[in-house]
């Protein structure tokens, strides 16, 4: 059948996780390019409530398993079901979120299917490959692109001979884009007792403490930070706009938090959180030692300040002399212009 299959992770609140919606969006595009269909799996309880969401993202067939033992997630039952769907439908590509659940599940499934798996991809595109040894030409393989070696190299990984081509992707990497035209997915209900061996329920969950979602800027690969120099709560909205576009989070200096521009959960520095994003952009942040302690491990640093001698400039890769209100709209404009 050679479709694209996405594992939809179900959140504590019973929704499809954001990372899975992003993968449905990416999966749909990959499916359209090859003129194949997008399929999804839903393993949990009352998954019928989530069919409409799948339809919004253009899913063709949903493989659903409903059983009280499937939530909260444990590895083996989900792995057995996922492997079963892969065997039955032979997808060319299977995508799983690089969340704690997905990174626990995907390797188990890949091992069972003896197929290749690439973790934490930052880009997925089709490409060709010629294998000299066997004189074989492969068309439209999935190029799975990911950083390795502590971010010192970017590797392109392919799986020429095994299917599905499996990859995990972190939340926020792919764009969340519903389909132009919603579908009404066909539903295939899976018989859990037939597919999952009772021994796969060996792990017993004794206790759980799950907190409601809150802002955690630590995990973000891009931090758009503002200082007191940004000026106001309203002016911070521009930072949020840029952060949304770049797939990042907004951070702040202590002075900006003390001034009430944003809450403490976004404070970067000694008395806030320590961040190590790929890219840190500071607007109107002078760069006191306490602030720098929380961000100087960032891979790339941009400092935007009207003061050319701001201490943050010394550790910045780019120092832009200017005002946030002038620079942000240009960053937005030129990011859009340069990214396809």
């Amino acid at each position: 059948m050679q479709n694209i299959l996405v594992y939809c992770e179900i959140t504590e609140e019973g929704n499809i996780a954001d990372v899975s919606l992003e993968l449905l969006s990416k999966g749909r595009k990959l499916a359209e390019e090859q003129n194949v269909k997008l399929d999804a799996v839903l393993f949990g309880e009352k998954t019928e409530n989530l069919l409409e969401t799948c339809g919004i993202y253009g899913v063709s067939t949903v493989f659903a398993a409903n059983d009280s033992r499937l939530f909260p997630y444990t590895t083996q039952p989900h792995a057995a079901l996922m492997a079963h769907v892969c065997r039955e439908t032979d997808p060319q590509i299977a995508l799983v979120g690089a969340s704690p659940v997905g990174r626990d599940l995907a390797p188990r499934v890949a091992s069972e299917l003896k197929c290749g798996l690439t973790a934490d991809c930052t880009s997925l595109v089709y490409g060709d490959h010629y294998e000299k040894k066997t004189d074989t030409q492969y068309d439209n393989l999935l190029y799975q692109i990911r950083p390795a070696f502590g971010g010192n190299i970017i590797a392109t990984i392919i799986n020429p001979d095994t299917r599905p081509q499996m990859a995990t992707v972190r939340e926020g990497v792919m764009k969340n884009e519903p389909a132009e035209k919603a579908t009404t997915p066909e539903v295939v209900n899976l018989d859990v007792d037939k597919i999952v061996d009772p021994s796969n329920f060996a792990i017993e969950i004794i206790e759980r403490h799950i907190e409601p979602p809150k802002v955690d800027i630590k995990k973000s690969g891009v931090i758009i930070a503002g200082g007191y120099g940004v000026g106001s709560r309203d002016a911070f909205n521009k930072l949020f706009e840029l952060a949304d576009l770049l797939g990042g989070e907004v951070g702040a200096s202590r002075a900006a938090v003390d001034a009430g521009f944003v809450y403490h959960e976004r404070q970067v520095g000694q008395t806030g959180v320590t961040v190590r994003p790929k890219l840190y952009i500071g607007f109107g942040i002078s760069g006191a030692v306490q602030h720098r302690a929380g961000m100087d491990q960032s891979a790339k640093i941009i400092s935007v300040n009207t003061d050319p001698n701001a201490p943050l400039n010394q550790i910045a890769d780019y120092s832009i002399v200017g005002k946030a209100e002038d620079v942000i709209p240009k960053m937005i404009r030129f990011f859009k212009a340069n990214s396809k």
Partner: protein
């Protein structure tokens, strides 16, 4: 009661501290020049195993690592900190293995160490960050798996309870034995070397190392068999070569691009369209954005 804990460990290049010496003239990383270290989360895993050993009388810890000859260094390090013995899985035929082939090789070595009660590994290694080898080894051995372990709650002859770290909280799970556990960086740090153990194990060597060093340790090693670090080849673990190395690895590296690091040299820009356009292009081209 015999109780065997197998700890998987990996020697990795220290990608966290890329110093000047490890940079090539073109600004790329010279991977060969990075110091080889004990993978950090594997040390958390060793501590987790030691905690179990502290609680279970008669428990022994066997460290298993796959790598070149020099990877025996981390077996010695583990023994200094409390492991009882180690196996170095080493053979040219293992080279080029991806996570699937690696987990196959490790699982074959672990099968040879039956009966065992628990297999423990770090969540992931810092050179590739895949977190795949643990779960894949569990699948090959048909064991239940507990990933992201943080705290040992309870252990007896038949079962273990572990608190694991999730995205937004914690969860305590109970598993029958045997089980495979991967340990998170948020778990307790590994205890330091023990002076007495350093004295006891400092001469431990693999046969290859003994041959390379011209000193004759024959008598010492006859008296103290625990000083021999065993080396296992593909044949020793009865592995099928077809499942190893490049031929046993479904993933292939199509291309490697070095990320070019420039010395921290600040580029001073104005807020002009040209300057900001150029900067955004650089960020996208170097995969920082997009």
């Amino acid at each position: 009661m015999s109780f065997r804990i197998i700890v998987m460990a990996k020697q990795v290049p220290d990608t966290r501290n890329v110093g000047k010496d490890a940079m090539k003239a073109d600004g790329t990383v010279n991977r060969g020049a990075l110091p080889a270290i004990y993978n950090p989360e594997d040390l958390n895993a060793l501590e987790f195993a030691l905690k179990i050993k502290d609680r279970v009388e008669g428990a022994e810890i066997v460290v298993v690592t796959m790598g070149p000859s020099r990877a025996s260094g981390i077996i010695r390090e583990a023994m200094y900190r409390g492991a009882d013995s180690g196996i170095l899985l080493t053979d040219r035929k293992f080279a080029g293995s991806d996570t699937l082939a690696t987990s196959y090789a490790l699982s074959m070595a672990i099968r040879k160490l039956e009966p065992y009660d628990i297999v423990i590994a770090g969540r992931q290694a810092i050179d590739r960050d895949t977190a795949q080898v643990g779960p894949q080894t569990a699948e090959k051995l048909n064991l239940p798996q507990i990933t992201y372990a943080e705290t040992l709650e309870n252990i007896d002859e038949k079962s273990i309870s572990v608190k694991r770290r999730l995205e937004r909280g914690v969860e305590t799970v109970k598993s029958p034995l045997p089980v495979l556990i991967t340990v998170n960086a948020s778990a307790e740090e590994c205890r330091p070397r023990h002076a007495k153990r350093v004295m006891q194990f400092k001469h431990s060597r693999t046969v290859t190392e003994l041959q390379e060093e011209s000193r004759d340790y024959t008598e010492l090693f006859d008296q103290r068999p625990y000083l021999t670090i065993q080396e296992w080849s593909v044949e020793d673990v009865n592995a099928d070569v077809a499942n190893l190395g490049l031929s046993g690895s479904p993933t292939k590296v199509k291309k490697i691009e070095n990320v070019v690091f420039k010395a921290k040299e600040t580029r001073v820009l104005s807020d002009s369209d040209d300057d900001i356009d150029g900067m955004m292009k650089d960020l996208i081209d170097s995969h920082v954005l997009g």
